[in-house]
Amino acid sequence: MRHIISILLENEPGALSRVVGLFAQRGYNIETLTVAPTEDNTLSRLTMTTNGDDRKIEQITKQLNKLIEVVKLVDLSEGAHIERELMLIKVKAVGAQRAEIKRTADIFRGQVVDVSPSVYTIQLTGTTDKLEAFIEAIGPGCVLETVRSGVSGISRGEKILSL
């Protein structure tokens, strides 16, 4: 099962390499990884998605918690949460296709952020599933390039991840 693990990490050199190294060293899989500073500049927020059965995920969270720089950790998939991923996608857009792609982007609430005579660059936000559905809808054949941010996530409601 897919899990979204969110971490408050000391904003120090080498901290990220310990997290990434742990996954490599213990044979865990990272599907997506995003990391950026938070409002507290001593902390980074790291979100990763990974796969595994309950035992594996338990080991992953325990091993991550052992890292000295991991200040707090939550498995967002255990509760109600919001997840978002940003995708910038360049698609071939010529002739009749141009209008069709624009319509599809509208349906997915995407925005065309750059235009050339034969190419649209579209910005789309949503869950991983939604981004994949969009690619499916416009037809993978006309995709020229994609770049995705990886998943960011946050708990719903009152629950917060802080010190």
């Binding site: 000391e10 080498g14 190294g21 060293q25 080991q59 325990k62 052992k66 000295i68 720089e69 010190l163």
Partner: protein
């Protein structure tokens, strides 16, 4: 406030952290630090002959004393040479602080002379590591390193110091922190009371309990508490390779070491138990054999300070995260309060069964008639000569298993071996680290002619510092454990397991100014032992004992089997 250079601050901080000995080797990036060391006398430096040995010496010191061992090495090859030693300490949870020099900070990343990314290279095998980026941070980083290394589940910590952090002419205010606080590091102080209660209830109802204790009990200094609990529950106790000595080897309730080369009765007791109390042990693959066949009837209680050790390979029914000693205290208190007592009728039947297993096998081997000794009898002879009271270090292989099986450790911290990583070359320097700190104790490295050659250069260090350890080399002229597996699984094809062109060890140690004694048959051994611990008590003695090369270590678990599936001899299987 006092103004000190970075190098002086480092040495002062080490002193304040309680360091007496540093094991190390100087080099370019550390020259300022070595100069600071020279100008004081509180912290002593021991110059090794290879940096790997420095790490093992610090490790031996740490395992015998419970205090962090300290290593100091220069950048590049100095640092990388310690890697095996750091990994050895990491796998066995040994507190250690490694100071590695680094090239000038402005050269880092330029592939400078003797530059290695030590933090990167060591990352998977350290508990934590620090790079010094400002000289004034040195005292605080040293304090943090010692705190992290020695609390919770102990482990090695690396501090990487670029040369320009130690410049003699740049001085800073020195202050060693009184208290260390790390917001993201809070090792558990006590176990969960509800879980402990459950564990006690389970133990009181058990009909066939067993206590399986590991290195964690020794690391926490809780052997006495373990002994009390075992005796109180009247339960059999087995120790892991790392836990030998936590419960007395000659104790009545001790069933021996368990696992791959564990005793028949220990493995049978485990397999048939209905409740297993695992204390500071981690269900290593050398203990469990095939995990899907592991102890089918047992409810498992698992106490460990490291949550990631619990339910990693074997799922615990009652997990307890906490320091062993504290949890054992709480268990004892609950037993005091409880109206219930262990089920004596069931326990009598259980002990009857265990004693049958003991009689059926026990630890046994057959002696040769022709005077050529079996390795087991040499260990027994050592046990007698040292009255079972020596510090024994070992290398890795058959000799290690024979020592673990036949030297009955009655005290904790006396058996020092690389159990997790299995590092050949560990035993001799580890023995040196022990002896320097316990000069009046007998310290013996049990080794083989293969392992000893992996760090034999330290004979020179022993001469320089006068470290009279004893080396007992069980010389079978081959890499015994490799050979055993080749005999058992590769139809006796001894691929690269034969040690051709062995040196004359007696002459070799004599050239270093030590004493060498060769023993080739049984009749010579008593005198050799007597001389080793008698007239040569103050000398390093290398006992080169020829043993039967055909001997195998038994019992040996059958791969992919359960705990009770064992070879008991070359021809006999359970």
């Amino acid at each position: 406030m006092e103004l000190l250079s970075g190098g002086e601050m480092l040495v002062r901080a080490l002193h304040e952290a309680g360091v007496e000995y540093i094991y190390g080797y100087p080099g370019g990036s550390l020259l300022h630090v070595y100069d600071a060391l020279y100008r004081q006398s509180a912290v002593k430096h021991v110059l090794v002959r290879h940096e790997q040995a420095a790490a093992h010496m610090a490790d031996g010191y740490a395992r015998a004393t419970g205090k962090p061992g300290v290593v100091m090495v220069t950048s590049g090859p100095g640092a990388t040479n310690t890697i095996t030693g750091i990994a050895t300490a990491f796998t066995d949870s040994v507190p250690m602080v490694v100071i590695s020099g680094q090239v000038m900070s402005f050269l880092v990343g330029d592939d400078a002379f003797q530059e290695t990314d030590m933090l990167g290279v060591s990352r998977p095998i350290v508990k934590h590591s620090f790079a010094v980026t400002r000289p004034e941070d040195i005292p605080e980083l040293v304090a943090k390193a010692f705190h992290i290394a020695s609390t919770g589940r102990p482990g090695p910590v690396v501090i990487d110091i670029p040369k320009d952090m130690t410049m003699p002419n740049e001085r800073y205010e020195y202050a060693y922190p009184k208290k260390v606080k790390l917001r993201s590091y809070t090792p558990p102080q006590r176990g969960h009371s509800g879980q402990i209660k459950k564990a006690v209830d389970l133990l009181l109802k058990a009909k066939r309990p067993v206590i399986y204790s590991g290195g964690g009990v020794i690391l926490d200094g809780s052997s006495d508490k373990l002994r009390q609990l075992v005796d109180r529950l009247n339960a059999p106790c087995t120790n892991t390779l790392m836990g030998l000595g936590a419960y007395p080897g000659t104790g009545e309730r001790f069933v021996g070491m368990l696992g791959m080369h564990g005793s028949y009765e220990a493995n049978m007791t485990m397999h048939h138990a209905d409740v297993i109390l695992a204390i500071g042990a981690r269900f290593d693959d050398r203990v469990t054999n095939a995990t899907d066949k592991f102890c089918p009837d047992a409810k498992i209680i698992h106490i460990d300070i490291d949550p990631s050790s619990i339910s990693k390979t074997i799922i615990a029914d009652v997990p307890i995260v906490g320091p062993v000693g504290n949890v054992l205290d709480e268990m004892t208190a609950l037993l005091d309060e409880s109206d219930e007592t262990p089920d004596s009728e069931a326990l009598d039947a259980w002990w009857k069964q265990i004693n049958e297993w003991r009689q059926r096998h026990g630890m046994r081997y057959e002696k040769n008639d022709n005077g050529l000794m079996k390795p087991q009898e040499v260990i027994e002879s050592l046990w007698q000569a040292t009255r079972g009271d020596a510090y024994i270090t070992s290398d890795v292989g058959q000799h290690q298993m024979f020592a673990a099986q036949y030297y009955k450790f009655d005290k904790p911290n006396r058996w020092i071996n690389s159990g997790g990583l299995g590092t050949m070359g560990f035993g001799f320097p580890a023995a040196m680290g022990v002896k320097m700190n316990f000069p009046d104790e007998m310290v013996v490295c049990v080794t083989g002619e293969g392992s000893i050659q992996m760090n034999i250069q330290e004979l020179s260090t022993c001469l320089q510092y006068g470290i009279p350890v004893k080396i007992l080399c069980l010389n079978n002229g081959s890499l015994g454990m490799v050979r055993q597996w080749q005999d058992m699984n590769y139809e006796g094809r001894h691929s690269s397991s034969y040690m051709e062109s062995l040196p004359d060890f007696v002459k070799l140690v004599e050239s270093y100014g030590h004493v060498g004694i060769r023993v080739t048959e049984r009749s010579q051994l008593p005198q050799a032992m007597e001389d080793t611990f008698g007239k040569y008590n103050n000398r390093l003695v290398f006992l080169d004992v020829t043993v039967d090369e055909h001997e195998h270590v038994y019992p040996m678990q059958v791969p992919t089997g359960s705990m009770r599936d064992m070879w008991l001899s070359k021809t006999e299987r359970t």
